[in-house]
Amino acid sequence: MKTESIISLDHGSGGLASQKLIGGLFLKYLTCPQLRDLEDCAMLGEYAGRIAFSTDSYVVDPLFFPGGDIGSLAVHGTINDLAMRGARPLALSLALIIEEGFSFASLERIIASVAKASEAAGVAIVTGDTKVVPKGKADGLFVNTTGIGLASHRHDISVKKAQPGDAVILSGTLADHGITIMSCQAGIDLGGDIESDTQPLHQLVGALLEEDAGLVHVLRDPTRGGLATTLCEIAQSSGVDIVIEEDRLPIRPSVSTACEMIGLDPLYLANEGKCIIICDQDGAEDILQLVRRMPEGRDAALIGWVHEGQDGRVSLTTRIGGSRLLEPLTGQPLPRIC
């Protein structure tokens, strides 16, 4: 293997090899002027409003999966975290921890994917960092993105704001990302239309808030822990009960089948391009229609309602009319023996 084809410790030294990596690879794809200046930090200009600030690290295995890769996921994930407080994302940082020996071609593919995702979302990578650690000290590549956003004073969206009577809307199908990753890890080819749902949600949220900010009380993306765990967090933070209906849950038949096969509950699998919208019941139908008109929300559904309660209980009315309590996920979702 040529030395150029893999990342070496030299690439993280800050010396010539680092400069070559930055100039020859990163700046080839990431073209924001602030980044090109290679200053110690980026200056973002002046903004009126409240600053939203979020960070997330990405360690997904495998790095490439149907529907996306660690690069696009890292861009979308942080954009979505900002959007979930009603903020408009302004800029992202990108930090990489690369294991010595990592393939140069894979890194290039990932950086190209970061660039494509950030360009499509209209949120630039304005600053970055690269470290290389010795072989065996990391698993290929870890990525961190941090994002800055701007939130209007007009709305105050928070996990604490769910109120009895509110409607619970889910912006699309359940568990696509989680089942994709778990089937990749298991080496099972599930075929069909199973792929990660990784996508940015800030445009959907922007449209939603432009319409009528006061109606939307909570936005939350059900990532790790899935829909059930995220609803539990909302119910507990807001001091309300939530009841959702199994019949109303949007889920692709292929995902549902895959979950049955592996023995996993789709309510507890990660999503990377969906949000829970808890809103005033009077505006629920209009909001649902608006979300469905957006490409990222075309499968949206009203899935349940918020009720009075002190214990933060979330329950599911099953398709046969039974009732089941939903608890937060404990440990890892593990496949069952039979």
Binding site: T223, S256, E260, I320, L325, T330, R336, I337
Partner: protein, 381 residues
């Protein structure tokens, strides 16, 4: 899953629910033998639809739950050997032995891989000829044929780096031991669908006859389970208990003969320790003499661990249906799904885990917030 959808529709289940309520003449106690039944009952909220007079007890049908600490300790002893990779079913890795679990061993540096079938473990052995791959062979008649087929494949491939620790168990002997317990008051058995697909519905006939016990073999969809319960209630009402196969789309009277032959080709019956139930004669599966070279205990010289129960844990009585999970002093306090002590809390299928997850019944004492386990399976993000 279109075919499963039909068994989950309210149009089909509602009349069954109504008929059950209508048919029930006296309080009955029914044991669902299989862990997958337990899960399905909770998952679909079936308890909330049944009349109060029906008490459902969860039996010994979760293979992870009944694997004793001594077996887990044997798996751990193998995991500690530097050349050994443990390739295991996912839900086994959090099961506690006397002191540790496979998850703990993995966090400390042992190679523990999750596989979805024993054949995957075999493939791993082929891919890594320099290492010894050991598959902890737990499970009932459902998994035993696949494990047997894997051993035969390893024999054909002349693999020398693939081992199992035979810890399989058979259901009829355990049910016999349970039913012989005079303290156990059970009117009917909801018999396991998967196990019955292998052993056949007639395997329960001796139990039905000897203990005057209503038996119904049922599948795992809501309509299957409700049909099974209705059959049991009718049998009890009529005072004519027998064996009713309500899962004819999968289960036959004689079972899967080919799978049965596979099991007996590779394994022979032996006494086996069940967590919570003690040693049950003839209820275990050990490798036959000609396949001993795949026996991890022998090949790795792992000492047989003494039987040892977990202090304060009432899993045994819960498995027998004598106690409900909240009756255990450890339930919800020292023993939670995040930090399980007893096996019934460990597996998703375990009675206590299912109770904890779905019923909302916790002990009244303050719940401890245990530290997360250092399971190194990767996050999806």
């Amino acid at each position: 899953m279109k075919c499963a959808d039909e068994f989950r529709s309210r149009e089909i289940t509602a009349p069954l629910v109504q008929e059950i309520a209508h048919s029930l003449r006296r309080p009955v106690r029914i044991m669902e033998v299989c862990g997958t039944h337990t899960m399905s009952i909770f998952r679909h909220g079936i308890r909330s639809l049944l009349p109060e007079g029906i008490t459902l007890l969860s039996g010994p049908g979760c293979p992870v739950c009944v694997t004793p600490a001594s077996h887990i300790d044997a798996f751990l002893a193998a995991a500690d050997l530097p050349q050994v990779t443990i390739a295991t079913f996912g839900d086994l890795i959090r099961v506690p032995g006397a002191e540790r679990s496979l998850a703990g061993a993995r966090a400390s540096g042992a190679r523990v891989e999750i596989v979805y079938s024993p054949m995957d473990a075999l493939t791993l052995a082929q891919q890594e000829p320099e290492r010894t791959v050991l598959f902890p062979a737990i499970g009932f008649e459902t998994t035993a044929p696949t494990i047997a087929a894997t051993i035969l494949a390893a024999e054909r491939l002349e693999l020398t780096n693939f081992l199992i620790i035979a810890a399989g168990k058979t259901m009829p002997q355990a049910l016999e031991a349970l039913m012989a317990d005079p303290e156990l008051q059970v009117d009917g058995l909801l018999c396991p669908g998967h196990v019955s697909a292998i052993i056949g519905s007639e395997a329960y006939r001796p139990l039905a006859d000897r203990y005057h016990l209503a038996c119904a073999v049922a599948g795992f969809e809501p309509a299957d389970i409700l049909s099974g319960l209705l059959s049991l209630i009718r049998q009890i009402n009529e005072g004519r208990p027998g064996v009713d196969n309500c899962y004819t789309r999968v289960v036959t009277a004689e079972g899967n003969i080919r799978a049965q032959h596979l099991i007996s080709e590779v394994f022979s019956p032996a006494d086996s320790e069940w967590r919570g139930l003690g040693t049950i004669p003839g209820s275990g599966l050990v490798l036959r003499e000609q396949y001993r070279r795949f026996d991890g205990m022998e090949q790795l010289a792992i000492p047989v661990q003494p039987a040892r129960e977990l202090k304060g844990c009432r899993c045994g009585e819960i498995l027998k249906g004598r106690l409900l999970p909240p009756d255990c002093p450890l339930y919800g306090t020292a023993c939670t799904p995040l930090q399980p002590i007893g096996p019934c809390m460990v597996s998703n299928e375990g009675t206590c885990a299912a109770y904890f997850r779905y019923s909302g019944r916790k002990t009244s004492t303050a719940r401890q917030e245990p530290k997360p386990l250092s399971v190194s399976q990767r996050d999806p993000s």
